[in-house]
Assembly symmetry: C3
Homo-oligomer: 198 residues x 3
């Protein structure tokens, strides 16, 4: 991991950190922190508690609500925290949740695509990481991350429509989700993306 | 396996044995017997031949038909065998097949939910084992095992209806089966469970 | 692999080589060639470039077009190449592509079943290899390989119809493909197989 990350840095290839379970176990928090010290990441992705475990030891983030979910009540506080953390580490940070927040330290977007059903299957977070890699490989920018996040969430919304129409469940939902990614078009993304510049 | 089972016993956590391929290879029969000697199982699950391989060396079971399938002809004999075996080992024994038999040595139920299609995919037996674990973790009782067996079989029946309606095959069936588990409600289970106290 | 192949030869069991990535890496080309030297294969399967990597070092094949796809323009040249290679190695060779070519060195068939969608999922090539094994285990003949290839391609065609009807995508397509294999009948195969003796 360390060797791969450093070599990718040398070759100017974007590297993405999916900080899975940072904060949940000491080992994972430590490894993630070591990676952050030794590798330059283009994008650092996690849910609220994962990202807080990595960046909220800083004084500027003490005010961040302990809640693990992003909603209308804590969104402004979290946007401030994510933006500052991104500026400090000089990477894009993506916090996923009911509302997603992404920032490169200068600009910050929030995304409202996606449905709860995506949490009823395994792998939707990993799919998004794969997406990020594909999008950032083409264009290493905040807008590229924004497009990946909107695409995934929009696919989740469309898949839910099919699930409801077919009176299906979570196993079929997983197929429908991949189907919708497969069928996604620029037109559908433009029409369905729900994001705001903060 | 041995360490895990013993530790779970110490902590009063229910342990389930899925006696896969006991009787089919010497190694597996021996390992299953060693586990039965060293660990107290809440539930021991297997098909007719697996359970017979573990318990039919006993004199009381000599009369048990050599047939591997449970049907109306051998059901009474098998009920007697399962009940006696459960009493002897002081665990719940669950024998799966066209008709399922489950007994804690005092009470014995038979279950007639389920369809042949469930044998056309891999994993439906493992799903039931996972189910048993979930149900028995909540309530360690014969009725809890009964509910798990009925839920699985009923999901299989409903999934078959969808497969036929959609003119689908076994791969879609596997998804429909998980879908039906996901959608199962107390009401549907009460209405669709087909069991008898023997 | 070597031991297994030789033992199967001793027992007169058919052995199939799926020459995945021969030609793509030195290691795989060498291993495939070693296997061809030490084991007698009933069927050797690959796409155009894989089969060419193994057999086109021979003088008789210099004229073979460098194109990796089989189409109406290079089909006659490729048929000639496959037939000659099969004769030389005394095995059935199956070249897969938009058009499939199979020959035992005497007779050569081309098959036009199948759709592009099969390349949009992982595993369809492996499914065909599993099919070949099943078919050749029953009857070790060129016609048996022909039936396997037509069955797989025809299942792919039917699965595409379902995908389009349901406005689905590649993940559902993978399920539909397995469904169609499951539902395939002798009658449907006779009616839908598209092959020619060359």
């Amino acid at each position: 991991m360390f060797l791969g990350g450093k070599r990718a840095n040398e070759l100017n290839k974007p590297v993405i950190l999916d900080a899975v379970a940072a904060g949940a176990t000491k080992y994972r928090t430590n490894e993630a922190n070591k990676l952050l010290n030794e590798v330059n990441f283009s994008v650092i992705k996690g849910n609220v508690s994962e990202i807080k475990a990595l960046f909220a030891g800083e004084s500027s983030t003490r005010g961040v609500d302990a809640s693990e979910e992003i909603d209308e009540n804590n969104i402004d506080e979290l946007v401030f925290f994510v933006k500052n953390s991104a500026k400090k580490i000089n990477s894009i940070i993506l916090v996923t949740g009911k509302i997603d927040i992404l920032s490169d330290g200068n600009k910050t977007y929030i995304v409202k695509n996606g449905v709860d059903e995506m949490a009823a299957i395994t792998g939707s977070g990993c799919m998004l990481s794969a997406f990020l890699s594909a999008f950032v490989a083409v264009e290493n920018s905040l807008e590229s991350v924004l497009a990946a996040v909107c695409t995934m969430g929009l696919a989740g919304e469309k898949a839910l429509e099919t699930m409801i129409k077919n009176n299906a469940g979570n196993s079929s939902y997983r197929n429908y989700l991949i189907d919708e990614v497969y069928k996604m078009t620029k037109y559908a993304l433009d029409k369905g993306a729900k994001y705001e510049l903060k």
